[in-house]
């Protein structure tokens, strides 16, 4: 155990090394780089390409330069368009990088050989030279960053720009150049972290996600905005992981996640940090005033009855009619076309459901979740459990939806403590926890999954039709729910919150509750989609059910279709579906292309492709 703790502390150095770049970019640019881990993995692959660790002399400066130019172009362009765009663009980059690496280097793992050997401290404890070197490197990098920021003139300008870019410009500071320099420094640390990671363990194209999550956990555990807190956070995470590994090798990651979630639940400001802006303040200063105002507003609103219902006057009323016609026509399809067609459409309906839910979350409630796959996976597994207990998987549709709603409600109390990009990554951690936990349950097929019982007795054609109707029903219900939700009082509240949160709060809008309702609804929708997925695939497998690819797809559909419109996800799902069919023969390239399209659309057509086309034509 003592050995595990020592190893864990040293491992914390590696995590702190990962975390400081993330922390720097967030602190200065207010950007959460969701591709952070993937960039580190790129550095490791570059080192493989250039002949090993010693090429770090080339890779690190290369990354610094690349960081500068990336900031001056893509990242700056997305900052100019708002925080949502920065998340979308970096998430898109993450998808692009991961699949590009997959295409170029295959899914096999690589490693950078480093001189090994260890130092014996006592009979039980011996310390690897490499771990020690990485820890020392982390301390040096942290010291260096701190000195750079607090002692140099450029560091002073970086802090000035971070505080107030406009005021800095009025003092003659070329803010974009300064931000580029900060990004260059951050990318240099990313490269160092990637090299250290590659020397420490083997890596594969998909390793970036884990690195991002650990870096993020180290930052939050340590306390936002504190470099030394980050080291402490990394060490806590490292110790948690190595003690977890001591119990059972596969508990390592989940033990780290659990410590992170515990910190989030018990001490959201982190171990060292003071309460910071990124943490949702629990006691809003003007809350009492807001309550008083709200009561006054309510009392007033009660008098004219129509106003209390909060109808949005501009909403088109042809939606229900069009919806009924479309559903009726589509419901007839199994009688008219081959089952191949309806089977394909099932995937479209799943996509449509997911995109509609994500649009509610991000477009209306401002909750950018990249962890909705948690509910897709849980929905699939609830279906499996229902089927294992001898009931028809189709009865699982409502069960899965309700169970996922309950799960979402519980999760919301944890993840709602964070905002913006931190919220996004926290949802991702939760999804990872769900996947890891379920992979440990042998009754559910463990890591390899299990096929869904109870469907073999049904005639294939009939099963295909049932599945199709189930998927259609779920999609139609999802759209109807979204439509009703936005017409209700809560829709008005959400729009108010999106436009001006403080203003809405001061008028008595219960921001937290409105968001929680949306989060629960989205959890239910994704759960139902997961249930449809399980039925249509006839088996449930943890890595695909909990794949972050689900989040990527729902985000992509919403973005290209047009976020915060009801029709956006429908258009997006259809466009995405077409692209998917057209590009699927190209393997991982298709995800690279989709990622690039998503990045391009979120920068050049943030209102969606159709709107952009319409504007151009006009």
């Amino acid at each position: 155990m003592a050995n595990a703790i020592v190893q864990g502390l040293l491992l914390g150095g590696l995590y702190a090394l990962f975390a400081c770049g993330l922390s720097l970019v967030f602190g200065v640019m207010r950007v959460i780089n969701l591709a952070h881990g993937d960039f580190a993995v790129v550095a490791a692959y570059l080192a493989v390409l250039f002949g090993g660790l010693q090429s770090g002399w080339l890779v690190v400066p290369l990354f610094a330069v690349a960081g500068y130019f990336l900031q001056r172009t893509l990242i700056q362009a997305s900052i100019d368009r708002g925080p949502l765009t920065t998340l979308l663009v970096t998430f898109g980059l993450s998808v692009v990088i991961e699949n590009l690496l997959l295409q170029l280097f295959s899914a096999d793992s690589h490693s950078l050989s480093a001189s090994s050997g260890s130092i014996r401290l006592t009979d039980q404890i011996s310390v690897g030279r490499l771990s020690l070197a990485i820890f020392a490197l982390a301390v040096v990098v942290l010291l260096g960053l701190q000195a750079l920021l607090s002692r140099t003139g450029t560091g002073r300008l970086v802090r000035a720009v971070a505080d107030d870019p406009e005021a800095a410009r009025l003092s003659g500071v070329a803010h974009r150049h300064i931000l580029g320099l900060a990004a260059g420094a951050a990318f240099a640390t990313v490269a160092l972290a990637g090299l250290a990671f590659g020397a420490y363990s083997s890596f594969a194209p998909a390793s970036g996600t884990g690195r991002l999550l650990y870096a993020f956990e180290a930052v939050v555990i340590g306390g936002l905005g504190s470099l030394w807190g980050t080291l402490a956070g990394g060490m806590v995470l490292g110790v948690a992981q190595s003690i977890g590994a001591e119990l059972n090798l596969s508990y390592a990651v989940i033990a780290g996640h659990l410590v992170f979630l515990a910190v989030l639940a018990l001490r959201p400001e982190g171990l060292t940090g003071a309460r910071s802006g990124a943490v949702a303040r629990r006691s809003w200063p003007s809350l009492r005033l807001a309550r008083a105002v709200r009561q006054a507003v309510r009392a007033k609103a009660r008098q004219p009855d129509e106003r209390a219902r909060g109808r949005h006057p501009t909403k088109r009323s042809w939606w229900p009619v069009a919806g009924f016609v479309a559903v009726a026509v589509l419901a007839y399809l199994p009688y008219a076309v081959y089952s191949g067609t309806t089977d394909t459409l099932v995937n479209l309906f799943i996509l449509l459901t997911l995109a509609t839910m994500w649009n509610l979350l991000a477009g209306y409630a401002g909750l950018v979740s990249v962890g909705q796959q948690a509910f897709v996976g849980l929905g699939a597994y609830f279906t499996l459990i229902v089927a294992q207990n001898g009931m028809s998987p189709f009865t699982a549709l409502p069960v899965a939806a309700i169970a996922c709603g309950v799960a979402a409600l519980a999760v919301s109390f944890l993840v709602f403590r964070l905002r913006g990009g931190y919220f996004a990554i926290a949802t991702w951690v939760v999804a990872d926890v769900c996947q890891l936990a379920i992979s440990r349950v042998p009754a559910l097929g463990g890591g390899t999954g299990q096929s869904l019982p109870g469907l073999s007795g049904i005639d294939p054609a009939l099963l295909s039709a049932y599945t199709y109707w189930g998927a259609l029903g779920v999609a139609a219900l999802a759209l109807a729910t979204a439509w009703l939700l936005l017409r209700a009082r809560i829709g008005l509240a959400l729009r108010a919150v999106r436009d001006d949160e403080i203003g809405a709060r001061s008028l008595g809008v219960r921001v937290g509750r409105a968001r929680r309702v949306v989060y629960v609804v989205a959890g239910m929708g994704c759960g139902a989609a997961g249930a449809v997925l399980a039925i249509s695939q006839l088996n449930v497998e943890p890595t695909s059910a909990f794949s972050v690819g689900w989040s990527a797809q729902m985000i992509f559909c919403t973005i290209i279709g047009g976020i915060d419109t009801l029709e956006g996800p429908i258009i997006g799902a259809v466009l995405f579906f077409g692209l998917q069919q057209a590009l699927s023969q190209y393997g991982a390239w298709y995800l690279v292309v989709l990622g690039l399209i998503a990045v391009a659309v979120s920068i050049w057509a943030p209102r969606g492709l159709l709107k952009r086309l319409a504007e151009t034509v006009r």
Binding site: G153, R156, R159, A160, D163, D164, E166, S171, G172, V173
Partner: protein, 234 residues
């Protein structure tokens, strides 16, 4: 002639906020722009500083057209602004705030030491974070941060905003010593009596248009009142 603005129009989205305003400020002059809320004063000043690209018109500094230059390039040319609401860098110390202002400084009379002389309280509190200062102290640091760049034209946006009257008059009492260094001052002020007291030229804006201008001594209070509120006396 230090600063010349010719027919400047500025839009906020589709709304025109400043309509073809012209003005000129020479060294040693204090040009005050007065007007009610929403008259376009601050927008005009932001456009002159380069923060808000104008729709049409010209901004000339020492006869060089700087209309299309970003604010950070106007500073080394000799144009500095004290923004509305002070806008210090809260996590930086007093000294660091001044040093940021100095990093593109032109040669001239103002140095860190001179700023410390101008505000006697500052040296001993130079290592305090700007966020810990009072409003008046912050405004002093903001003035120091602009002065240290040695501008030939100093823009002051709503110096009196949120400050006690006594602090405001202390700050305005500094103006003569600034002017002696050959600086030109363009200021925006809601407090008309304060503006009229210090200015060598007063220009009144109403809904983005110049309604009155002249030497303070040539203007009657009634004229100013009428121009300020757009009243016409029968």
């Amino acid at each position: 002639m230090s600063l010349r603005v010719e027919g400047l129009s500025v839009d906020h989205g589709q709304l025109r906020v400043v309509h073809e305003v012209s003005l000129a400020v020479s060294p040693g002059e204090v040009h005050a722009i007065i007007g009610a809320n929403g008259a376009g004063k601050s927008t005009l000043l932001r456009a002159i500083a380069g923060l808000h690209p104008p729709a049409s018109g010209k901004v000339l500094l020492d006869d060089v057209d700087i209309t299309r230059e970003p604010p950070e390039r106007r500073v080394p040319r000799g144009l500095a602004m004290v923004p509305e609401g002070r806008r210090l860098f809260p996590s930086l110390t007093v000294r660091e705030n001044l040093l940021v202002g100095a990093h593109k400084a032109r040669p001239g009379p103002w140095t860190l030491e001179k700023i410390y002389e101008l505000f006697a309280w500052m040296p001993e509190r130079r290592d305090q974070k700007a966020a810990q200062l009072s409003g008046g102290e912050q405004q002093a640091v903001a003035i120091g941060r602009a002065l240290i760049a040695n501008p030939s034209v100093l823009l002051l946006d709503e110096l009196s905003l949120g400050l006690a009257p006594i602090v405001v008059s202390q700050l305005y009492a500094l103006l003569p010593s600034l002017l002696r260094t050959g600086i030109a001052v363009l200021l925006v002020e809601q407090d008309v009596s304060q503006a009229v007291r210090v200015a060598t030229w007063v220009q009144c804006l109403l809904e983005g248009r110049t309604t009155l201008e002249g030497r303070p001594s040539d203007l009657t209070p009634d004229q100013i009142l009428a121009a300020y509120f757009g009243l016409t006396y029968g």
